[in-house]
């Protein structure tokens, strides 16, 4: 069982991801973007992060992109794999060059095939260095 933290501005998406991750046998911590600080994310001790690219409704709220940059700058999250979800392929294209510079970020565009997300989650959590609870 792994700890997966999901940050998204949609409560429905958070509920759905909890159902999916429960089915995969993992424990999810969910944050709605407006409430989230990087320290909250660190405290959840994630082994995988799932972040939406577009989080903020207001300019003063953190964006998914900013969250990724902060995560890669924080000692507690530097090596945690990140799945970046987005329906905004145009914003993704704008960020393409920047994304290439950041290690460990895997992109999945919405709407995605359930099997693709499940496969990606399981693959990233099975990578060397990811220590799962209950497994010696």
């Amino acid at each position: 069982m792994a700890r997966v933290t999901v940050i998204n501005d949609s409560p429905e998406f958070l509920r759905l991801m909890r159902d999916i991750l429960d089915d995969l046998g993992h424990r999810m911590t969910g944050f709605q973007a407006v409430e989230t600080s990087i320290e909250d994310v660190v405290a959840s001790q994630p082994q995988l992060l799932i972040v939406d690219l577009r989080l903020q409704d207001k300019p003063q709220e953190i964006s998914g992109w900013e969250l990724i940059i902060l995560a890669r700058s924080h000692r507690g999250l530097q090596n945690v794999p990140i799945i970046l979800c987005t329906a905004d392929v145009w914003e993704l294209k704008k960020r393409a060059t920047d994304l290439e510079q950041i290690a460990g970020v895997h992109v999945i565009t919405k709407p995605f095939e359930l099997d693709d997300m499940c496969s990606l989650v399981q693959t990233l959590l099975a990578e060397p260095g990811t220590r799962l609870e209950g497994i010696s």
Binding site: L16, D23, V89
Partner: protein, 67 residues
């Protein structure tokens, strides 16, 4: 995960993705979202559950482009 459970989760995924962002998207973005959503729904096996089929039918109506 049973096929019924998988279908239910997949439909929820598509519904949420479409409804959460469609209001803020321009025509091109919305068309991409619509086409992608329909492709995923087209690939789903036919469900024996009549309620699920009805829900799917209603969502497909929602996806239809406005003439």
């Amino acid at each position: 995960m049973s096929p019924a459970r998988r279908a239910h989760l997949q439909l929820r995924l598509v519904e949420i993705a479409y409804r959460h962002r469609s209001a803020s998207m321009n025509g091109e973005q919305l068309e991409r979202l619509r086409v992608r959503s329909e492709a995923i729904l087209d690939a789903m096996p036919i469900s024996p559950d009549a309620k699920f089929r009805e829900r799917l039918r209603l969502f497909r109506l929602e996806l239809r482009p406005i003439a």
